[in-house]
């Protein structure tokens, strides 16, 4: 199945860890909405596949008015059969959530919320420059559930340095009181072009030791699995079979169409992406064109991506599908490597499927690298 991603590149302020593309110049919002609609028109031919998901990500999509959202969705539904869409997700920040907004979302057919909770420790929230308190986050979840929006995903950050006394277990249990259908637990990452990246350069901030990271990862995994969550990707847990359809498409290397500044699109063998600059993006579309950069994946690239993405998920990689992409002498080398990893209890093999054992998930890139073929 295929997915549509819409990047909404606005935030009221920058979180210190985030390096996604966004702007705090909100005055461009409606012009940008129009530009996205223009992009949809320009790319109408790309909507011929079997789409099952629409995802508003950012930035902060909850900064869009209902009108603006509606405009984009209507434009999409000119080309895409809305009855086939099973999942419409919007990322929201807790501080933006009102009953009115949620009702509006429901009317538009949005059936899944991804709430940026990140932590339930106010000290951490303010250290990360988040705009909300832990109380606001819980209230937001409650409101949505009261209105009948059940399919809620919660973003949670662990592995945060500088807070040795953080009680992750306590935070998790608070979250679990609401039994959200989906939890994404991301390890804290210091990105170069962020405030934290700058701090790191000044040697004022460092990542947690990996021993500590592993400890927290284990704690989270155990806690969530005990509560019945399915750990289906390194950072993702779902309840009641509510894995993200949208993200699963990415990992299964399905087609996706990305709209808006910086968004990536993929349809084998081409991956392309829009410019990461709001003004330049708007200008292009006002002139009725779209300059995208692109790469054409070689069969080796394809193989490497199958490995890299497959080893992040519970489903793993179908090695019989992957191996024919590379030359036979390389196949032999890779088979040997795979066997070594199986012997070392890194990989599990069932029929043609290899998957990384969960206790080794934190080494997924190490293993991917070993199994990569160089062009």
């Amino acid at each position: 199945m295929s997915g549509i991603y819409i990047h909404i590149p606005f935030c009221t302020k920058a979180c210190h860890y985030c390096d996604f593309h966004f702007s705090t110049k909100l005055s461009n919002k409606s012009t940008l909405t129009n530009a996205i609609c223009e992009e949809i028109k320009l790319r109408k031919k790309e909507f011929s596949g079997a789409f099952n998901s629409i995802y508003f990500g950012g930035g902060t999509p909850s900064l869009l008015t209902l009108r603006e959202l509606e405009k984009i969705m209507n434009q999409i539904f000119i080309y895409v059969d809305s009855s086939q869409i099973q999942e419409v997700t919007i990322e929201v920040n807790p501080e933006d959530i009102t009953v009115e907004l949620l009702r509006g979302y429901q009317k538009l057919g949005i059936n899944r919320l991804s709430i940026g909770v990140q932590s339930l420790d106010d000290k951490i929230l303010s250290w990360m420059n988040r705009n909300h308190s832990s109380k606001k986050a819980i209230t937001a979840i409650n409101k949505a559930q009261e209105l009948g929006i059940e399919n809620i995903s919660v973003d949670f950050i662990y592995g945060v340095p500088n807070f040795p006394k953080r009680n992750i277990s306590n935070e998790l249990h608070q979250l679990l009181n609401n039994s959200p259908f989906h939890i994404s637990c991301y390890h804290f990452t210091i990105e170069e072009k962020t405030y934290f990246g700058w701090l790191k350069k000044q040697e004022k901030l460092a990542e947690l030791t990996d021993l500590k990271s592993e400890e927290e990862f284990k704690l989270i995994t155990q806690t969530l699995e005990q509560k019945g969550y399915d750990h289906y990707e390194i950072s993702n847990f779902s309840l009641n079979g509510k894995a993200s359809k949208h993200n699963t498409n990415y990992w299964k290397r399905q087609q996706y169409v990305g709209l808006g500044p910086s968004a990536h699109s993929y349809n084998y063998p081409i991956r392309k992406w829009n410019i990461s600059n709001n003004a330049a993006y708007i200008k292009q579309l006002q002139q009725g064109k779209l300059n995208q950069e692109q790469e054409k994946l070689s069969s080796i690239d394809h193989f490497n991506e199958l490995i890299m993405l497959g080893l992040r998920t519970k489903e793993g990689v179908n090695i019989e599908e992957a191996l024919p992409l590379i030359e036979s002498n390389q196949q032999d080398k890779i088979k040997l490597k795979i066997q070594e990893f199986i012997d070392d209890k890194f990989l599990a093999k069932e029929g043609p499927i290899i998957s990384l054992r969960k206790e080794k998930w934190l080494l997924s890139e190490y293993v991917s690298r070993e199994l990569f073929i160089l062009n």
């Binding site: 390890h187 592993e214 990305g258 490497n304 070392d344 890194f346 934190l362 190490y366 690298r369």
Partner: protein
Amino acid sequence: MKNIRNFCIIAHIDHGKSTLADRLLQTTGTISDREMKEQALDDMDLERERGITIKSHAIQMDYTFNGEDYKLNLIDTPGHVDFSYEVSRSIAACEGALLIVDASQGIEAQTISNLYLAIENDLEIIPVLNKMDLPGAMPEEVTDQIIDLIGCSVDDVIPASGKTGLGVDNILEAIIEKIPAPKGQDNAPLEAMIFDSVFNPFRGIIAYFRVFNGVIKKGQQVKFFNTGKTYDADEIGVLKMDLDPKKELASGDVGYIISGIKKANEVKVGDTITTMTNPCESAIRGFEDVKPMVFAGIYPVDTEDYEELRASMEKLQLNDASLVFEPESSAALGFGFRCGFLGMLHMEIIQERLEREFNMTVITTVPNVSYRIYMKKDLEEIIVNNPSELPEPSKIDWIEEPYIKAQVITKSEFVGAVMNLCIEKRGELTNQVYLTQDRVELSFLMPLSEIVFDFYDRLKSVSRGYASFDYSPTDYKKSDLIKLDILLNAEQVDALSALVHRSNAFTLGKKICLKLKELIPRQQFEIPVQAAIGAKIVARETIKALRKDVTAKCYGGDITRKRKLLEKQKAGKKRMRQVGRVEVPQEAFLAVLKLD
């Protein structure tokens, strides 16, 4: 002959020898401004990049002075102690030398030893004070140093600048007026000395020589005195920017010969060329078979590349006769070669040339010197060029190692620090001379092996860069040496073994373990790094297992970037060598050379 001048240049690295030589070439019209590139004489990219001369070069310049035409032969010498024998032969081919001293730096150790060599050979010395354009130039002070050293007068010292061209005419004038014309008899039997050779892929070996007596003619049968081999002089000529063939070259001339020689080791620097029909009685004095001083294993990173490595080394040997190698095998690294080098720079150059010219990524093992082992039984003497070949210690009576005479010139404020370093390196102070009020020459007797281990870097740091160093080998001395082994993941890695003095084996073992811990990337399992003497572990560090190597998010917009990053990281790993189950980066094998 009376209008020929043969001269060389003596200078320390960075004192502007090549730039000044470039100016001489331009002023004499030997090279046009259009053809000019910096360091015109240095052919190898490596020479230009490092700003040093590795091979000798020679060039003939035509110059008219006071209405007379002169032939000026410049022999550009290598600028590093590793190549001191080549330097000595180049000096022996000349009647004069330009002594180039950086006006902002003063005289350095290397300069002094080469200068003495020139004086020993009765060369006329023309002192040149270079880099006068620099704001930091100290002409009076440096002039005083020069006067003290060679006993000239103030007026003899020529102020110059390779950059601005200052003094170039005066230098040319001094070359003609002061350096004597060569002496020699054209009717005597041919005596020509080889001072260098280069390899040309189309023409074979081109040998450079200086005629002392007699005449050499194209087509003549010639004999190389020391190798005893005979050749036809297919082509002879003089060296301009390109080869300039001639029918004959007479006494005093500097030229080249091409005679179909394919292997560089048939052409030995210092050898005498004579004719078959009328040979000279004895060879020109001073010939030496250059012996390697430093030994190390060279192994392909990928074991499959062994044959390719052999072919590359053989090709390299074609134009570097001082490189010697023989096959060896290592338990850790498989098949490779034990190579002999003139010194540490030579070793680095070989490694770099293999990489650049032959695209061979290699592992160089810990270098060592040549040891003499005396066995208890029959006092049999064994030469060991590889620590892993050291016989069972209980069977050894004693071990001898090569010593050197080392000279360090530094500022007086660093004397203490330099002395401490040299004593720590088992050196024995033999002399201390104040060259000027604040420049001191220190002489030491010390083991060559200590120079191999992180000596240069240390010297540089204790003297804040104000120390220059030179050495010459002396003799072998008895030493209390033991073999220090390194174990990775409980397996001994022979390529990391070293013979060290008993007194610092512990400290060294500890430092090596620490350094390896720093250089070997963490892997999925814990790796103990140990130093051992015999069966006894003397130091241990642990490389902790890798526990996290993953990024949190990988969605639609991350995939391309992530894949490329992993590919790049994987490509970086190609320079690592699998030793047992441990992946060891190339540079870790030389870790012991760069201990803090």
